[in-house]
Amino acid sequence: MVNPVFLIAITLGFAFIFPLFEKINPKLSRLAGILVFLTLVVIPLIWFINISNMDIPYIYSSTVGLPSNLTINLAVSYMEALVLLVVNGVGLFVYLQEAYSKESPWKGKQIILLSIVMLGANGLIITRDIFNIFVFMEISTISLFGLLSCSSDDRVFEGGFKYMLASGLSSVFYLIGIGFFYLVAGTLNLDALPDGINFTGGVLGVLWPLFLLSGVLIELKPAFANGWGMDTYEAADYSLGAIMSGIQATALIIVLTKIIPLIESNIIMPLLLVVGSITFIISHLQALGQSSFKKMLGYSSSAQIGLVLIVLGSGTNILLAIVLLLTHSVAKSGLFYTGKYFNECGSGRDKPLLVVLSSLFVIALLGLPPFPGFGAKWTLLQILGGKSDVFTIFIILLGSLLEGVYLFRWLGLKIKSDRDSGLVVSEVVPDDDAIPGYSSSDTIGVASQTGLAGLGGCIKVHFSSDSFSYHQLFPALMAVIMVVSGVVFNKGVGLTFRFLIPFSGILFFVVLDLFRVPTKFQVFLAIVASIILGFYVYPELNGFNTLFGFIFLFGIGVQFIAFFNRKGYSPGLMALTVGLLVSLISILTSKTNFQLFFSWEMMTLTSYFLVLRGDNAFAGGYRYILFSLASAFFILAGFSMLHGIFIGEYMSLPQNLLPVILIIIGIIIKFAGIGVHIWLPVSYAEAENDVSSIFSTVLSKVGVYMLFLGGLYFSKRVFKGVDTMYLLGWIGVLTSVAGSMMALFQEDIKYTLAYSSMGQVGYMILGFSIMSHLGWISSLYLVTTHMMFIGMLFLSVSGVIYRTGTRLMYQTGGLIKRMPLSFISALFAIIALSGVPPLSGFGAKWLMYSALLEKGWYLQAAMAMFASGVAFLYLFRLIHSIFLGQEKAIYLNVKEAPAPLLIPQYIFMICVMAISMFPNLLIKPLQTVIEPYFASTVRWEGYEVISALGYWNGNAVMYVTMGVFIIPLIWLLIVNRHVYKVKQFNIVYAAERPFKPETTHYAYNFFGHYQKALGFLVEPLISKFWNGTGILVNNLSGGLRRWNSGNPQGYVFQILLYVIFLSFLMGGTN
Amino acid sequence: MIIVVIIILSLIALVSAIMAIISTDMVSSIIFGGVVSLVASVIYLVYGSPDVAMTEAAIGSGLTTVVFLFAWFRVKHLGGKE
């Protein structure tokens, strides 16, 4: 096996000889540099492979061939080999970027200093001698200062000076620590410590750990003493940022892992926990308010270090900390470089590779699938859940959420086009003199405050060769390695190979995008793929999964046809949509909690990027991802404390109900319950038309599926005296009432439909929470039928928007003459949606009310009826403003909606008609599914379904209605045989004919009087609340940022204060 | 006996350290810094580590003071009074 000393000898030899070498032949010397950095990567690779299979704990070598206790020893275990591999990988990555960069390639001295930094980092990781750690620490910091000095920004000297003061002080403390340690232990070698010596007794016992630890911790930039580090991040070049956070921080953490075993665990563990939590939360908050990209990443890396400290302090498996650390180091250095290219080119408009790469790196940093961070965070939380250490779980999840806030804000603004104002479109009726455009009113408060709002790249991204420079090849390579390592690690944690096959579909479509295959062809392939997926998955599904499998597959499959309407080439669309479909299906087929959560997160990610494709979708996407992350973290917390398996048949009831409550809260956020609904309308409305139709038909049902999945869990429901299901019922009803009321006053069609689907989901939740046979049938019946008629409505509306180009209802009018087919499908849809008898909508309403009345929830039943009444209002308003009334001159030559949009509508219509004629087509299979959970209280006699309360014969009702409808129609036809259509304004109108008839189209502020009466119900209190929280968090981060005042003496003061803080944590000195 | 020498040396070192900090003229405070490390090297000699004494003498009082002076002369023209 290779002797660890070679790592040091090779780099040092190269560093010393390089000045001469460069004088002789600069090009060759640079190649030699690559060779050296490559060997630095290869050696640890050899170790890693040998150690992992020969599983000898150590590669051990003492310098100077004497017995090991006399000399300085170098040791490489399994973990260190892995860390070395990654750290040197990042080093090679930085070298390739900088030595061959176009504008200012690094010359002689800089390359030397970079190799010395690598030497320092490698030394820190492998040495087993305390003083040697000090020497290598000094090596890496001093060579970093050298590199700092040649940054482009001349503020670097101010930052560098502060950095030096801080690192000088930390090395002073470390030296004092070594002195005390030597007094106590008599030797400096970590492996040859004489046991039996009372390490931590008496005054000395506290002092040496205090100073050693403060030496290392200060260098790691902890929360209240990292001002100096952050100023350096802001001023230094991107490469230095990558080095500081990628290489140095990682090496120092390994040093920490060496020192921790020396100190008594009941002192060090709580200390690490406290320091880690404070750093994790405070640094994230400080990063939140940053406007400088590099400083934001600086704070974020100090926060990530905090997370690693928490993991170390919580005493869980150290490998988790290492995986989190390494993912951070790779992703952060990658992000530094993509950020550099992004900032240079202003916006992601035509930089597809950059968009993909920075998204991948951001996802990796947040510990979302498919990267290793996800598996590590999951196992960590499982262990913490086992010890029911609720506080740490809360800290970890809160921090990750805060990180999500600013990382996704940056990513969203970078991807979105500069046309996108980054602010939320007005949700309430624009005041009368408002021009028919949008007046921006609010956002989650963060984007606009930080002045980043104007920036942003456009999602209409297309792969063009000029935007691709080989410089982006290196980060791409890093991203690929990370994805592969992520998949391998997550497979180890719990994904079976069979589970991962469908996800290869995403890669297939990405490859298609690379070859610029036109969207139409891709859509065809997608339909074929979804059919294959259907057959591949069908045998595994049972019970609820079959129903929801049908909804997801049939729903998205049919709406793929609508994608044929896209002209030319829109990259990423099919990859993301197929990804969404695949993750939905894998939610159904997952066997363990981990698989379920993995696919849940994949769904969140793919849907977020789909939303982001919309033109003005930054605000929508931003809110979407924040609330989805919050919901995912609640569910993650729930799963971690659940101990049992959440999936259907292997159900094991949990002892305490807290995890179930957390999961319910997560689900409430996901289906946009009353308090947390502000993300749904903006994201559904701002996504592209066909995408938002998929969202409201299929995606809104996932929350409902999770409820049914955990059905049995929620049956045991009294938690601290509160009947959770009763509460959930009320949330469902209030959501439906709120959804319908808000939909009433919208001027924008897509907002109306978004609120309407939110309201309908409220019904489904109400149905579920009744927890009775009839309740579940009504909920599932509505889930299936709602998918159909909201699909019809959405597609017909997108046909109108496609043709007329406007989303405001009052600007259209009288389109029945131009677009009759869309009108018919819209008419059927609103009849079904509002529950008017002949069609299937009434079936859902009938089941719902009989379930509610049977259960005795009378007030809820009344509220539900009121909500369905209001639903009828806005639906009529929708169809009246668009199709009926006066025609507008500009839309006289509008053609019918294109065929790809019409076909899915009429497929859905056929299904709706079928279910309306024969309701038992759907209700019977539902009954068989629900049988095991609740005894059936519904009897069948022919076509008549009889429940305890009432009865309903869908078939007979349909015949009677047809009869009653056709006889008067025939009578009218006979009486008015020869009738001819009249031109637009030939009506009995007392006043003389207005100059432009379309001005009399009564559509704007249609329910004005209703708003006067009940407007107070719709005050945007909730969005005010969320804006308030956004602004509060922003001010908090502003306040915290003030702590780093920029004055070097202030920073020294911070550091000394921190040492005192550590000494208190250590239990005070004497 | 030796203790008395040590005490005197320590006092000299402390006084010159304090003078180095509070003196207004920069050159004199640099010199005082040099004196502190000179006294330190003598103390090392007395405490039986000649190697360290030589290093401290050469680097501490010699080179550090010179480097300080060179740096100071570079920025002397900006020297606003304390």
Partner: protein, 310 residues
């Protein structure tokens, strides 16, 4: 099988004829009574017959499009549908229509069917007044829908069934176990809601004669208007029968003719109540009527529900 269908259609035809003629006469006589009260001679009692025959007689050559054509058809289908799924006279096969295949919920939602039809037809006509009237009508409908729903729910809570026939059956045996007396709050809420349904004066803003000449049906004429008028008769008749069944013990007796007579008397009184209120109140604005319905009637309804559910 075929004979059963034939007899069924014959019975339905008879019950339709009964309710149609009775309703027309009722409207005619009520108009005359109101005139007498206001000191006028008033129109002849059979005036509605004349209007219908006149309108159906007229030939028209004008239509505003398919939806305009289908508007009245929808409206009439809604009225007929509401009527057909309700037992008019309890206990006689002839008058039980199709009540066995749909319960109270179906009837309530059929009212929507009529409203939707009228709204679509009016919207298509292109006349600015009709959608104005429609928006007022729909807004008011949701408002009075709430107390009516609460009343219905409290009845369902009381008798534990949704089918109208069972509700009527439960109210037999003297006036003291009618819903009006066993569950008075429900009755009050229901009757107040009925005011909203009847488009009579306090809530007649929808078809305000001067403001927006007769609102939604402005553009309707000839056969279309005739169909609307027939529907007005049948629909009001159906609503009165519904309220009779729900609150006033329905019409039942050994002999069919006496039962029909009881039904006539009861529905007459209900209609009289509405007209008296109509004659003595000014017209509400839409938001006033919405606020009214969501105020006192809803509270009474809630009390009714709570009373029943404990």
């Amino acid at each position: 099988m075929l004979s059963a269908i034939l007899t069924k259609t014959f019975y339905t035809f008879i019950s339709l004829m009964v309710i149609l003629n009775y309703a027309l006469l009722l409207i005619g006589s009520m108009a005359r009574i109101r005139a007498k009260v206001q000191g006028r001679v008033g129109q002849p009692v059979w005036q509605p017959y004349i209007d219908i025959i006149k309108n159906y007689g007229k030939r028209t050559a004008v239509t505003h499009g398919v939806m305009f054509y289908l508007g009245p058809v929808f409206r009439l289908a809604g009225g007929l549908g509401t009527y057909l799924f309700m037992p008019v006279v309890y206990g006689f096969v002839m008058f039980e229509n199709f009540s066995f295949s749909g319960d109270l919920l179906l009837v309530m939602y059929f009212i929507f069917f009529g409203q939707l039809g009228m709204a679509l037809g009016a919207g298509e006509s292109g006349h600015p007044y009709s959608p104005l009237g429609v928006s007022r009508g729909l807004a008011q409908m949701t408002a009075f829908e709430l107390p009516f729903a609460l009343a219905v729910i409290s009845i369902v809570a009381q008798y534990g069934t949704l089918s109208i026939t069972e509700i009527v059956a439960a109210q037999q045996g003297g006036w003291q176990n009618w819903v009006a007396f066993t569950n008075p709050f429900a009755m009050i809420a229901g009757m107040l809601a009925f005011l909203g349904m009847s488009m009579q004066n306090p809530f007649s803003v929808v078809i305000a004669p001067q403001e927006i000449p007769i609102g939604p049906p402005t553009e309707m004429h000839s056969a279309f208007l005739g169909m609307l008028q027939t529907n007005r008769a049948i629909f009001n008749g159906a609503k009165m029968v519904l309220f009779m069944n729900l609150f006033w013990g329905g019409a039942t007796h050994k002999y069919l003719l006496v039962a029909i007579l009881i039904m006539v008397v009861k529905t007459f009184l209900i209609y009289l109540y509405v007209n008296i209120v109509g004659a003595s109140f000014p017209r509400f604005k839409t938001e006033q009527s919405i606020r009214f319905f969501l105020g006192v009637p809803t509270i009474i309804g809630i009390i009714a529900v709570i009373l029943q559910s404990i």
